[in-house]
């Protein structure tokens, strides 16, 4: 019974995969790539699968998947465990570099309320620029050493920037540039490709199995999965950035994680953020 159900779910995922695959066929026909249709199908897949979850609630990851957890989350938000990081980020953000400039000088609108526009495609460079990357580039341009991508300072800065953008709908653009479309496509392909000794794709966990338990952890749905980053996790006893989460997910499948901010990760973040357009920024988040 349960097996048939599992296979049924899997075929639902297949249908979904085919739908998206149809637009990724490497026929060289770039005009076949249709991110708008992708994003629509992506949302529909999740809202059909979880008809009781409100669209804007998907950004709460595992907490959106069941009511008990949702209650736990509300309790947690009373005394948010990411508070220390947020404070630190706020302070860091306003403190001038040795040259007198600040982070605000590197970002549109002084860096306030702009999280929803990251990552963006930089047409000069021909590449995807994530918020984490932009922050380190800002430091380097101002003669400061870059931070580690995975935690502490980087988590604090992105926590603060997310916090000032809470509630704003994710708003990722794909400029009319074949390289931007290619970055999106590559990110999508990375997301659906199986890898590692355990043969998982990102989608195996976050599209085929959201809401299911993997040991004690409840898998987050891929829709809105980056909106809450960075997150505090009890299991890490600390904060982690998007880079940390991606590399950890890759290690869990006994694959070799890439380096934070490698092109593939930037592209996958671009893809995931684009298909989550319209869902609110909710970071920093707290997780069990």
């Amino acid at each position: 019974m349960k097996l048939r159900y599992a296979i049924y779910l899997a075929s639902a995922a297949l249908a979904f995969g085919m739908l998206t695959l149809a637009s990724t066929l490497p026929s060289g026909a770039a005009d076949k790539v249709d991110p708008v249709a992708d994003a629509k199908a992506f949302k529909k897949f999740f809202t059909d699968k979880f008809p009781k979850v409100k669209l804007e609630d998907f950004v709460n990851g595992p907490y959106s998947m069941n009511e008990d957890l949702h209650r736990q989350w509300q309790e947690k938000e009373q005394f948010p465990p990411y508070e220390f990081s947020l404070e630190m980020g706020k302070e860091m953000f306003s403190k001038p570099f040795k040259n007198g400039k600040t982070y605000a000088d590197c970002f549109p609108n002084g860096g306030i309320g702009v999280r929803q526009n990251y990552p963006y495609f930089d047409e000069k460079e021909g590449k995807v620029i994530t918020l984490e990357l932009a922050l380190n580039r800002c430091r380097e341009a101002n003669g400061e050493a870059p931070y580690s991508y995975v935690k502490d300072e980087m988590a604090a800065l992105t926590a603060y920037m997310a916090f000032t953008s809470r509630g704003k709908p994710m708003d990722i653009k794909i400029p009319d540039d074949p390289r931007a479309l290619a970055a999106y496509e590559n990110g999508k392909e990375y997301f659906y490709t199986r890898r590692g000794q355990l043969n998982f794709s990102c989608a195996a966990c976050h599209v085929q199995s959201p809401g299911e338990r993997i040991r004690a952890e409840i898998l987050a749905p891929a829709l809105g999965i980056v909106n809450a980053m960075p997150i505090y996790r009890s299991e890490w006893s600390g904060m982690g950035t998007t880079s940390r989460r991606f590399t950890t997910c890759n290690s869990q499948i006994r694959g070799v994680p890439l380096n934070p901010q490698d092109d593939e990760y930037r592209n996958v973040e671009y893809y995931l953020s684009y298909v989550s357009n319209g869902l609110p920024i909710s970071g920093p988040g707290a997780r069990p």
Binding site: A10, S11, Q197, L198, N199, F200, S209, R213, R215, A216
Partner: protein, 113 residues
């Protein structure tokens, strides 16, 4: 007298080691199935005697009545994508997560469920 005695001893020894050997394969299979670094089947399946099971796959019970043929279980463990290309269950044999011998031990264990 002596040969008969030896024979009895041999039979006796046999009678008691055969099940013991089977039992140890079952134990080994259980350990492999529960071990996080090995089968880690509990990540996805509820299995009697295991703690903190996941819910991605079906509960593993009445396996012997569902899969009376040993080869079928070996095949599922070797590479479930053969049966269901979309499965999330790892191909334990194909990707050498478990050796043939280990897979056999896990199958022995599964048949007791």
């Amino acid at each position: 007298m002596l040969p008969a005695f030896t024979l009895a001893l041999v039979i006796g020894a046999f009678a008691s080691t055969a099940p013991a050997q089977a039992q140890s394969a079952v134990d080994e299979g259980r350990n492999l199935a529960f071990d996080r670094g090995k089968g880690n089947c509990l990540t996805c399946h509820v299995i009697k005697g295991g703690t903190l099971p996941g819910s991605i796959g079906p509960e593993l019970r009445d396996i012997k009545s569902k899969y009376p043929k040993r080869e079928d279980l070996v095949a599922i463990l070797n590479d479930e994508t053969q049966r269901n290309p979309l499965t999330v269950m790892p191909p334990f044999g194909r990707n050498r997560i478990l050796t043939e011998k280990e897979i056999n031990a896990v199958v022995d264990f599964l048949q007791t469920l």
